[in-house]
Chain length 215, copies 2
Protein backbone atom coordinates (compact mmCIF):
# COMPACT_ATOMS: atom_id res chain seq x y z
CA UNK A 1 0.00 0.00 0.00
CA UNK A 2 1.40 3.39 -0.92
CA UNK A 3 2.08 5.95 1.77
CA UNK A 4 0.21 9.27 1.48
CA UNK A 5 3.43 10.89 0.21
CA UNK A 6 3.84 8.21 -2.47
CA UNK A 7 0.21 8.68 -3.57
CA UNK A 8 0.79 12.41 -3.79
CA UNK A 9 3.98 11.99 -5.84
CA UNK A 10 2.27 9.59 -8.25
CA UNK A 11 -0.55 12.07 -8.80
CA UNK A 12 1.94 14.90 -9.17
CA UNK A 13 3.89 12.94 -11.75
CA UNK A 14 0.81 12.02 -13.79
CA UNK A 15 -0.18 15.70 -13.87
CA UNK A 16 3.34 16.65 -14.99
CA UNK A 17 3.21 14.09 -17.80
CA UNK A 18 -0.02 15.66 -19.03
CA UNK A 19 1.37 19.16 -18.71
CA UNK A 20 4.45 18.18 -20.74
CA UNK A 21 2.16 16.47 -23.28
CA UNK A 22 4.07 13.22 -22.98
CA UNK A 23 2.43 10.88 -25.46
CA UNK A 24 3.02 8.09 -27.96
CA UNK A 25 5.70 5.52 -27.27
CA UNK A 26 7.62 7.54 -24.68
CA UNK A 27 4.46 8.03 -22.57
CA UNK A 28 3.79 4.32 -22.71
CA UNK A 29 7.41 3.47 -21.88
CA UNK A 30 7.57 5.88 -18.95
CA UNK A 31 4.24 4.68 -17.56
CA UNK A 32 5.10 0.97 -17.91
CA UNK A 33 8.52 1.41 -16.31
CA UNK A 34 7.10 3.46 -13.44
CA UNK A 35 4.31 0.94 -12.88
CA UNK A 36 6.76 -1.95 -12.76
CA UNK A 37 9.13 -0.11 -10.42
CA UNK A 38 6.17 0.96 -8.30
CA UNK A 39 7.07 4.61 -8.06
CA UNK A 40 8.07 7.52 -10.36
CA UNK A 41 11.74 7.29 -9.42
CA UNK A 42 14.02 9.55 -11.46
CA UNK A 43 16.24 6.70 -12.67
CA UNK A 44 13.48 4.53 -14.04
CA UNK A 45 12.07 7.50 -15.99
CA UNK A 46 15.51 8.28 -17.42
CA UNK A 47 15.83 4.59 -18.30
CA UNK A 48 12.62 4.78 -20.33
CA UNK A 49 14.00 7.79 -22.24
CA UNK A 50 17.27 5.93 -22.86
CA UNK A 51 15.48 2.86 -24.18
CA UNK A 52 13.29 4.98 -26.43
CA UNK A 53 16.43 6.64 -27.82
CA UNK A 54 18.37 3.38 -28.25
CA UNK A 55 15.49 1.59 -30.00
CA UNK A 56 15.13 4.53 -32.38
CA UNK A 57 18.84 4.49 -33.26
CA UNK A 58 18.68 0.70 -33.70
CA UNK A 59 15.67 1.15 -35.99
CA UNK A 60 14.00 -1.54 -33.96
CA UNK A 61 11.01 -3.39 -35.35
CA UNK A 62 8.07 -4.23 -33.08
CA UNK A 63 8.56 -7.68 -31.54
CA UNK A 64 12.29 -7.78 -32.21
CA UNK A 65 14.40 -9.39 -29.53
CA UNK A 66 17.42 -7.77 -28.01
CA UNK A 67 20.32 -8.13 -25.64
CA UNK A 68 20.75 -5.45 -22.98
CA UNK A 69 23.41 -4.17 -20.63
CA UNK A 70 22.58 -2.30 -17.42
CA UNK A 71 25.43 -0.18 -16.11
CA UNK A 72 23.84 0.27 -12.70
CA UNK A 73 21.91 -1.91 -10.25
CA UNK A 74 19.74 1.04 -9.26
CA UNK A 75 16.25 1.97 -10.38
CA UNK A 76 17.32 2.82 -13.94
CA UNK A 77 17.85 -0.91 -14.52
CA UNK A 78 14.20 -1.72 -13.76
CA UNK A 79 13.20 -0.08 -17.04
CA UNK A 80 15.05 -2.68 -19.10
CA UNK A 81 13.21 -5.95 -18.38
CA UNK A 82 9.72 -4.53 -18.61
CA UNK A 83 10.32 -2.46 -21.79
CA UNK A 84 12.68 -4.64 -23.80
CA UNK A 85 12.01 -8.20 -22.61
CA UNK A 86 15.67 -8.49 -21.60
CA UNK A 87 14.80 -9.55 -18.05
CA UNK A 88 17.53 -9.78 -15.39
CA UNK A 89 16.90 -13.51 -14.95
CA UNK A 90 17.36 -14.22 -18.66
CA UNK A 91 20.42 -14.73 -20.83
CA UNK A 92 19.48 -11.52 -22.65
CA UNK A 93 20.63 -9.30 -19.80
CA UNK A 94 24.04 -8.38 -18.45
CA UNK A 95 24.67 -6.30 -15.37
CA UNK A 96 27.97 -4.49 -15.88
CA UNK A 97 27.99 -2.30 -12.81
CA UNK A 98 30.12 0.70 -13.78
CA UNK A 99 27.77 3.00 -11.87
CA UNK A 100 27.30 5.22 -14.93
CA UNK A 101 23.70 6.24 -15.61
CA UNK A 102 23.67 4.26 -18.80
CA UNK A 103 22.28 1.25 -20.57
CA UNK A 104 22.94 -0.45 -23.89
CA UNK A 105 20.56 -2.37 -26.11
CA UNK A 106 21.39 -4.27 -29.23
CA UNK A 107 20.92 -7.19 -31.50
CA UNK A 108 22.55 -10.58 -31.40
CA UNK A 109 23.07 -11.32 -35.09
CA UNK A 110 24.19 -14.86 -34.30
CA UNK A 111 27.88 -13.96 -34.07
CA UNK A 112 27.73 -13.96 -30.29
CA UNK A 113 28.45 -10.25 -30.30
CA UNK A 114 25.58 -7.85 -29.72
CA UNK A 115 25.78 -4.67 -31.77
CA UNK A 116 24.37 -2.16 -29.31
CA UNK A 117 23.43 1.44 -28.88
CA UNK A 118 24.55 2.75 -25.51
CA UNK A 119 22.60 5.70 -24.13
CA UNK A 120 24.00 7.83 -21.32
CA UNK A 121 23.68 11.11 -19.46
CA UNK A 122 26.09 13.86 -20.51
CA UNK A 123 27.09 15.60 -17.27
CA UNK A 124 27.41 19.08 -18.79
CA UNK A 125 23.93 18.93 -20.24
CA UNK A 126 22.38 18.84 -16.76
CA UNK A 127 23.21 22.55 -16.37
CA UNK A 128 20.06 24.60 -16.18
CA UNK A 129 18.31 21.78 -14.33
CA UNK A 130 19.31 22.36 -10.70
CA UNK A 131 17.30 19.54 -9.12
CA UNK A 132 18.28 17.04 -11.80
CA UNK A 133 21.90 18.10 -11.48
CA UNK A 134 21.82 17.75 -7.70
CA UNK A 135 20.28 14.30 -7.98
CA UNK A 136 22.74 13.20 -10.67
CA UNK A 137 25.74 14.36 -8.63
CA UNK A 138 24.26 12.99 -5.39
CA UNK A 139 24.25 16.42 -3.75
CA UNK A 140 22.42 15.35 -0.60
CA UNK A 141 22.44 18.93 0.72
CA UNK A 142 19.95 19.74 -2.01
CA UNK A 143 17.32 17.59 -0.27
CA UNK A 144 16.18 15.64 -3.29
CA UNK A 145 13.26 13.95 -1.55
CA UNK A 146 11.60 17.26 -0.65
CA UNK A 147 12.25 18.54 -4.14
CA UNK A 148 11.07 15.44 -5.99
CA UNK A 149 8.28 17.34 -7.82
CA UNK A 150 10.85 19.81 -9.14
CA UNK A 151 13.18 16.95 -10.10
CA UNK A 152 10.40 15.12 -11.96
CA UNK A 153 9.41 18.34 -13.69
CA UNK A 154 13.00 18.89 -14.82
CA UNK A 155 13.40 15.32 -16.07
CA UNK A 156 10.29 15.62 -18.23
CA UNK A 157 11.35 19.11 -19.34
CA UNK A 158 14.82 17.94 -20.30
CA UNK A 159 13.72 14.68 -21.94
CA UNK A 160 16.38 13.41 -24.31
CA UNK A 161 18.31 16.69 -24.30
CA UNK A 162 20.57 15.54 -21.45
CA UNK A 163 21.34 12.22 -23.17
CA UNK A 164 23.78 11.11 -25.81
CA UNK A 165 24.51 7.75 -27.42
CA UNK A 166 27.20 5.70 -29.12
CA UNK A 167 27.52 2.32 -30.80
CA UNK A 168 29.22 -0.41 -28.76
CA UNK A 169 29.76 -4.12 -29.18
CA UNK A 170 29.21 -6.61 -26.39
CA UNK A 171 30.34 -10.25 -26.47
CA UNK A 172 27.32 -12.11 -25.12
CA UNK A 173 28.33 -14.16 -22.07
CA UNK A 174 27.80 -17.87 -22.53
CA UNK A 175 25.25 -19.60 -20.33
CA UNK A 176 26.92 -21.05 -17.28
CA UNK A 177 25.47 -24.52 -17.69
CA UNK A 178 28.74 -26.40 -17.21
CA UNK A 179 28.36 -26.99 -13.50
CA UNK A 180 28.05 -30.01 -11.28
CA UNK A 181 25.40 -30.33 -8.60
CA UNK A 182 26.57 -30.56 -5.00
CA UNK A 183 24.39 -31.17 -1.98
CA UNK A 184 25.44 -28.62 0.63
CA UNK A 185 26.25 -30.53 3.84
CA UNK A 186 24.84 -27.62 5.86
CA UNK A 187 21.34 -27.27 4.47
CA UNK A 188 20.99 -30.35 2.27
CA UNK A 189 19.99 -28.27 -0.75
CA UNK A 190 21.52 -28.47 -4.21
CA UNK A 191 24.09 -25.86 -5.17
CA UNK A 192 26.19 -25.51 -8.34
CA UNK A 193 29.76 -26.52 -7.47
CA UNK A 194 31.28 -23.20 -8.52
CA UNK A 195 29.25 -21.31 -5.92
CA UNK A 196 30.43 -23.34 -2.92
CA UNK A 197 32.71 -21.64 -0.42
CA UNK A 198 34.80 -23.87 1.86
CA UNK A 199 32.53 -26.76 0.96
CA UNK A 200 29.34 -24.99 2.01
CA UNK A 201 26.74 -22.89 0.26
CA UNK A 202 26.96 -19.17 0.99
CA UNK A 203 23.94 -19.33 3.28
CA UNK A 204 25.54 -22.01 5.48
CA UNK A 205 29.02 -20.49 5.42
CA UNK A 206 30.25 -17.15 6.69
CA UNK A 207 28.63 -14.05 5.32
CA UNK A 208 25.08 -15.33 5.07
CA UNK A 209 22.46 -12.66 4.50
CA UNK A 210 20.28 -14.46 7.06
CA UNK A 211 20.74 -13.72 10.75
CA UNK A 212 18.52 -16.33 12.29
CA UNK A 213 16.66 -19.44 11.27
CA UNK A 214 13.82 -20.54 13.49
CA UNK A 215 11.93 -23.03 11.40
Amino acid sequence: MDTPWECEMKATFAALEDRHRLDGRIRRFVDEAVRFHGFPAPGVILGAYMIDLALEKLEAEPGERFFAVAETKKCLSDSIGILTGCTPGSSKFLLFNTGRLSLAIGRDDGSGIAKCVRAFVVPGRTEGYPALRAWYFNDTAFGAKNKLPQLLEEILGAGRSILSWERVEVPIPSKDDQWKPVICPGCGEMVPDYLLEDGLCKACGKGSCYTKHDS
Copy 2:
Protein backbone atom coordinates in the same frame (compact mmCIF):
# COMPACT_ATOMS: atom_id res chain seq x y z
CA MET B 1 9.43 -12.46 -32.24
CA ASP B 2 9.17 -16.00 -30.93
CA THR B 3 10.74 -18.85 -32.85
CA PRO B 4 8.39 -21.62 -34.01
CA TRP B 5 9.71 -23.83 -31.18
CA GLU B 6 9.02 -21.11 -28.62
CA CYS B 7 5.48 -20.64 -29.98
CA GLU B 8 4.92 -24.38 -29.72
CA MET B 9 6.23 -24.53 -26.14
CA LYS B 10 4.02 -21.64 -25.08
CA ALA B 11 0.96 -23.34 -26.53
CA THR B 12 1.97 -26.65 -24.96
CA PHE B 13 2.37 -25.00 -21.59
CA ALA B 14 -1.01 -23.22 -21.76
CA ALA B 15 -2.64 -26.56 -22.58
CA LEU B 16 -0.85 -28.21 -19.65
CA GLU B 17 -2.06 -25.48 -17.30
CA ASP B 18 -5.63 -26.16 -18.39
CA ARG B 19 -5.17 -29.92 -18.08
CA HIS B 20 -3.82 -29.49 -14.53
CA ARG B 21 -6.70 -27.11 -13.76
CA LEU B 22 -4.34 -24.43 -12.57
CA ASP B 23 -6.57 -21.59 -11.42
CA GLY B 24 -6.98 -18.81 -8.88
CA ARG B 25 -3.92 -17.00 -7.61
CA ILE B 26 -1.37 -19.60 -8.67
CA ARG B 27 -2.60 -19.51 -12.26
CA ARG B 28 -2.36 -15.74 -12.26
CA PHE B 29 1.09 -15.83 -10.68
CA VAL B 30 2.44 -18.42 -13.11
CA ASP B 31 1.02 -16.59 -16.13
CA GLU B 32 2.30 -13.17 -15.04
CA ALA B 33 5.78 -14.50 -14.28
CA VAL B 34 5.96 -16.39 -17.57
CA ARG B 35 4.72 -13.36 -19.51
CA PHE B 36 7.34 -11.11 -17.90
CA HIS B 37 10.14 -13.62 -18.47
CA GLY B 38 8.92 -14.14 -22.03
CA PHE B 39 8.93 -17.93 -21.95
CA PRO B 40 7.64 -20.80 -19.76
CA ALA B 41 11.05 -21.47 -18.25
CA PRO B 42 11.05 -24.04 -15.43
CA GLY B 43 12.66 -21.67 -12.91
CA VAL B 44 10.23 -18.84 -13.33
CA ILE B 45 7.29 -21.25 -12.86
CA LEU B 46 8.89 -22.68 -9.72
CA GLY B 47 9.43 -19.11 -8.54
CA ALA B 48 5.72 -18.41 -8.88
CA TYR B 49 4.94 -21.49 -6.76
CA MET B 50 7.49 -20.38 -4.15
CA ILE B 51 6.03 -16.88 -3.95
CA ASP B 52 2.50 -18.28 -3.65
CA LEU B 53 3.69 -20.50 -0.77
CA ALA B 54 5.65 -17.73 0.96
CA LEU B 55 2.80 -15.20 0.77
CA GLU B 56 0.42 -17.79 2.22
CA LYS B 57 2.73 -18.53 5.16
CA LEU B 58 3.21 -14.77 5.71
CA GLU B 59 -0.59 -14.36 5.68
CA ALA B 60 0.01 -11.51 3.26
CA GLU B 61 -2.72 -8.93 2.71
CA PRO B 62 -3.41 -7.62 -0.79
CA GLY B 63 -1.34 -4.50 -1.46
CA GLU B 64 1.15 -5.20 1.32
CA ARG B 65 4.73 -4.31 0.59
CA PHE B 66 7.59 -6.70 1.08
CA PHE B 67 11.32 -7.20 0.99
CA ALA B 68 12.65 -10.11 -1.07
CA VAL B 69 15.80 -12.15 -1.43
CA ALA B 70 16.69 -14.02 -4.63
CA GLU B 71 19.18 -16.84 -4.11
CA THR B 72 19.93 -17.17 -7.82
CA LYS B 73 20.42 -14.80 -10.75
CA LYS B 74 18.70 -17.24 -13.06
CA CYS B 75 15.14 -17.26 -14.37
CA LEU B 76 13.62 -18.06 -10.97
CA SER B 77 14.51 -14.52 -9.88
CA ASP B 78 12.38 -12.95 -12.62
CA SER B 79 9.25 -14.06 -10.77
CA ILE B 80 10.01 -11.80 -7.81
CA GLY B 81 9.79 -8.29 -9.23
CA ILE B 82 6.66 -8.83 -11.27
CA LEU B 83 4.75 -10.73 -8.56
CA THR B 84 5.82 -8.99 -5.36
CA GLY B 85 6.82 -5.49 -6.44
CA CYS B 86 10.29 -6.11 -5.00
CA THR B 87 12.01 -5.17 -8.25
CA PRO B 88 15.75 -5.77 -8.70
CA GLY B 89 16.37 -2.03 -9.14
CA SER B 90 14.66 -1.17 -5.87
CA SER B 91 15.81 -1.21 -2.27
CA LYS B 92 13.27 -3.96 -1.61
CA PHE B 93 15.36 -6.60 -3.37
CA LEU B 94 18.56 -8.38 -2.44
CA LEU B 95 20.42 -10.79 -4.68
CA PHE B 96 22.22 -13.26 -2.43
CA ASN B 97 23.59 -15.62 -5.00
CA THR B 98 23.95 -18.93 -3.19
CA GLY B 99 22.80 -20.77 -6.31
CA ARG B 100 20.10 -22.59 -4.34
CA LEU B 101 16.71 -22.70 -6.05
CA SER B 102 15.20 -20.53 -3.39
CA LEU B 103 13.75 -17.16 -2.59
CA ALA B 104 12.64 -15.40 0.57
CA ILE B 105 9.92 -12.82 1.05
CA GLY B 106 9.10 -10.91 4.18
CA ARG B 107 8.03 -7.80 5.94
CA ASP B 108 10.10 -4.90 7.10
CA ASP B 109 8.42 -4.01 10.39
CA GLY B 110 10.54 -0.87 10.73
CA SER B 111 13.29 -2.63 12.70
CA GLY B 112 15.47 -2.87 9.60
CA ILE B 113 15.19 -6.64 9.75
CA ALA B 114 12.82 -8.36 7.34
CA LYS B 115 11.00 -11.33 8.86
CA CYS B 116 10.85 -13.63 5.88
CA VAL B 117 9.57 -16.95 4.69
CA ARG B 118 12.16 -18.73 2.60
CA ALA B 119 10.83 -21.26 0.08
CA PHE B 120 13.10 -23.86 -1.46
CA VAL B 121 13.25 -27.12 -3.38
CA VAL B 122 13.81 -30.26 -1.29
CA PRO B 123 16.15 -32.42 -3.40
CA GLY B 124 14.68 -35.76 -2.29
CA ARG B 125 11.17 -34.71 -3.22
CA THR B 126 12.11 -34.53 -6.90
CA GLU B 127 12.13 -38.35 -7.01
CA GLY B 128 9.37 -39.62 -9.22
CA TYR B 129 9.79 -36.64 -11.54
CA PRO B 130 12.62 -37.72 -13.86
CA ALA B 131 12.69 -34.66 -16.11
CA LEU B 132 12.39 -32.25 -13.19
CA ARG B 133 15.11 -34.12 -11.33
CA ALA B 134 17.41 -34.05 -14.35
CA TRP B 135 16.84 -30.33 -14.78
CA TYR B 136 17.36 -29.62 -11.07
CA PHE B 137 20.61 -31.60 -10.97
CA ASN B 138 21.77 -30.17 -14.33
CA ASP B 139 21.96 -33.62 -15.91
CA THR B 140 22.72 -32.44 -19.42
CA ALA B 141 22.72 -36.03 -20.73
CA PHE B 142 18.97 -36.00 -20.13
CA GLY B 143 18.50 -33.46 -22.93
CA ALA B 144 16.25 -31.07 -21.04
CA LYS B 145 15.46 -28.92 -24.07
CA ASN B 146 14.00 -31.80 -26.04
CA LYS B 147 12.08 -32.91 -23.00
CA LEU B 148 10.74 -29.51 -22.02
CA PRO B 149 7.09 -30.56 -22.42
CA GLN B 150 7.70 -33.44 -19.99
CA LEU B 151 9.54 -31.12 -17.60
CA LEU B 152 6.72 -28.56 -17.67
CA GLU B 153 4.18 -31.34 -17.14
CA GLU B 154 6.10 -32.60 -14.13
CA ILE B 155 6.48 -29.13 -12.62
CA LEU B 156 2.74 -28.54 -12.80
CA GLY B 157 2.09 -32.08 -11.55
CA ALA B 158 4.43 -31.66 -8.61
CA GLY B 159 3.34 -28.13 -7.72
CA ARG B 160 4.22 -27.31 -4.13
CA SER B 161 4.94 -30.92 -3.23
CA ILE B 162 8.66 -30.55 -4.03
CA LEU B 163 8.97 -27.37 -1.93
CA SER B 164 9.47 -26.65 1.72
CA TRP B 165 9.82 -23.44 3.69
CA GLU B 166 11.33 -21.94 6.83
CA ARG B 167 11.33 -18.60 8.61
CA VAL B 168 14.47 -16.49 8.24
CA GLU B 169 15.49 -12.98 9.19
CA VAL B 170 17.33 -10.67 6.83
CA PRO B 171 18.96 -7.38 7.87
CA ILE B 172 17.89 -4.99 5.13
CA PRO B 173 20.96 -3.46 3.48
CA SER B 174 21.12 0.30 3.81
CA LYS B 175 20.89 2.40 0.67
CA ASP B 176 24.36 3.19 -0.63
CA ASP B 177 23.78 6.92 -0.93
CA GLN B 178 27.01 7.98 0.82
CA TRP B 179 29.09 8.33 -2.30
CA LYS B 180 30.87 11.16 -4.01
CA PRO B 181 30.54 11.87 -7.74
CA VAL B 182 33.67 11.54 -9.86
CA ILE B 183 33.96 12.40 -13.53
CA CYS B 184 35.77 9.48 -15.16
CA PRO B 185 38.76 10.89 -17.07
CA GLY B 186 38.22 8.24 -19.74
CA CYS B 187 34.63 8.81 -20.79
CA GLY B 188 33.74 12.04 -19.02
CA GLU B 189 30.69 10.49 -17.39
CA MET B 190 29.81 10.58 -13.71
CA VAL B 191 30.60 7.55 -11.61
CA PRO B 192 30.21 6.99 -7.85
CA ASP B 193 33.70 7.09 -6.29
CA TYR B 194 33.46 3.61 -4.79
CA LEU B 195 33.07 2.02 -8.24
CA LEU B 196 36.23 3.50 -9.74
CA GLU B 197 39.11 1.13 -10.47
CA ASP B 198 42.58 2.64 -10.83
CA GLY B 199 40.97 6.03 -11.29
CA LEU B 200 38.75 4.96 -14.18
CA CYS B 201 35.23 3.63 -14.52
CA LYS B 202 34.99 -0.07 -15.26
CA ALA B 203 34.11 0.58 -18.90
CA CYS B 204 37.27 2.65 -19.47
CA GLY B 205 39.54 0.38 -17.43
CA LYS B 206 40.49 -3.22 -17.97
CA GLY B 207 37.71 -5.74 -18.06
CA SER B 208 35.14 -3.70 -19.93
CA CYS B 209 32.18 -5.64 -21.28
CA TYR B 210 32.48 -3.61 -24.49
CA THR B 211 34.89 -4.71 -27.19
CA LYS B 212 34.72 -1.77 -29.54
CA HIS B 213 33.37 1.76 -29.57
CA ASP B 214 32.80 3.35 -32.95
CA SER B 215 30.61 6.30 -32.22
